[in-house]
Symmetry: C2
Subunit: 308 residues, 2 copies
């Protein structure tokens, strides 16, 4: 009986030690994860900054198209919508990057310290309990041995009143073994739960980050539509759209302020020529009530409303 | 008649010049776009490298969970799937970044040179045609003026045979004006088409990049399911799953090679203790045919098949 329990307890204790050793040896993996996550996060942050600058430049190209006279107002409007959708993606990227740092990297780093303390406590507690249980078994066993000797002696003398005492002592040893086994099982269960909790904790931190990542997906649908709009709008690059032909017709016979400036013979007059064109352009805009070809400034608020 | 056409031609020519000037003045905007796009692209590339390193570290954490004894095999498997999905996103990110450079930034840079040449040619051609048409009008007008004087003189002398010649000359002037107007309209149309083509060309380069982006974001869909799996798997971190309880039961009464190593009194014995545990762990794995708690190495191919 004792031999079987002894073997079982040894197996339980051995597995306990392996689990503890596994947890202790896993720190470099977690630390590597935190390091690489930190590097990726700072890259994401730098990318978000680059995206902001890129989208500013993109919006200027969209404005060019919106304000040009070549019938590209619709293209400009679609490009503006494309830009605005990317602003949402940019915002989501920043949120994602922030959540990655504050929801995963930093808490995991702090958690690591708790984990280290937790495992050390488990290990120490187990060693203490094991030692105490062992000592109790040793004491009870030696008590039993003494009683057995006493019983043998008493038996030889013909006195049988020690037997109940001996039985009780042997029961005590057996009980202590069962207690040791329960202690070992309890310790092993605690170690296994501790190990499992780490991953549960990790997943709890990871999921909100993944959710942020997923929310970037929501913007895709819109990109698809805008991309198709752009395809349709640019399907015939060698032909002017009716609106632009209209500009030419309107100009003929209109009282627009356009006037041809004789090209200068020397480059020194470029400035004055430019400024005179600029003023004639402005006079067109002020008189162009329909706004089909004027260079009205494209404000973000009007872009925003057109994209909804 | 001439005065009206003169005004119209001046308006057409003025708009032509404005369109040309707009195109010429837009280069800084396009160049800024190319610069910012280049910076963003190199950030994306650097991010992709950081993502690769991060996913390697992430996979190691997933392997920890898969190989641990705390009943986290399912969590490890879900984390591996999460990692594999991110490998797809990583691959798409690299493709996107490559497409951004090779499909948009580089071709746009080259296109800029064509645009500059194209606009200069348009401008020169127009100036030449305008000058020639003007000279022809001037010549025809002076011819008409001469004929008018001649006709007056002839009229005074009572001779009326110059009138048909004069009519024809006046018709010539009128025709030349109409030709000038057509020339101006043609030039304006070419300039407007040139301007519009730029944006069509830009959109043609942009769309495949956006398509790559969309396909990258589309990978995110798969994350949702895995995230929900992970949530379910880690819903009760304080309880061992049945599989782990089974490990404890199996260990009891089994002939596993686990055996408890008395904790060392000095750190010098750590190595030998570790190696003995390692060998006992190996013996477990070799005898554990069900593989419910062994530390089988988690190969990428098996991860891949479990994620499908």
């Amino acid at each position: 009986m004792e031999a079987v329990i002894e073997k079982e307890c040894s197996a339980l204790g051995g597995l306990f030690q392996t689990v503890i050793a596994d947890m202790k040896s896993s720190y470099p993996i977690w630390e590597d994860f935190i390091t690489k996550a930190g590097k990726m996060q700072s890259q994401l942050r730098a990318t978000a900054v680059a995206v902001t600058a890129f989208l500013d430049a993109f919006q200027k190209v969209a404005d060019l198209a919106t304000n040009s006279r070549g019938g590209t107002r619709d293209i400009g409007s679609a490009l503006t919508r494309m830009c605005l959708r990317h602003r949402s993606i940019e915002a989501k990227l920043k949120q994602f990057s922030m959540c990655f740092l504050e929801g995963l990297i930093n808490p995991l780093q702090e958690q690591m310290e708790d984990w280290k303390r937790g495992v050390n406590t488990l290990d120490k507690d187990h060693a203490k309990e094991y030692k105490r249980a062992r000592q109790e078994i040793k004491k009870k066993s030696s008590d039993t041995l003494k009683l057995q000797k006493k019983a043998k002696k008493a038996d030889n003398l013909g006195r049988g009143d020690i037997q109940p005492q001996l039985n009780s002592a042997m029961q005590d040893v057996s009980d202590k073994y069962i207690l040791l086994e329960e202690t070992e099982k309890h310790a092993l269960r605690r170690a296994l739960i501790e190990e499992r909790q780490r991953f549960c904790c990790f997943v709890t931190m990871l999921r909100p980050v993944v959710d942020e990542e997923i929310s970037m997906l929501a913007e895709v649908t819109h990109l698809q539509t805008i991309s198709e709009d752009l395809k349709a709008l640019t399907s015939d690059p060698h032909k002017l759209p009716p609106a632009s032909e209209q500009v030419i017709l309107d100009l003929k016979g209109s009282d627009y302020g356009w006037s041809y400036q004789t090209p200068p013979s020397s480059p020194s007059t470029t400035m004055s020529r430019k400024s005179s064109m600029c003023s004639s352009l402005n006079s067109v805009n002020s008189s162009d009530s329909r706004g089909s070809s004027g260079s009205h400034s494209h404000s973000p608020s009007s872009s925003s409303s057109s994209s909804s």
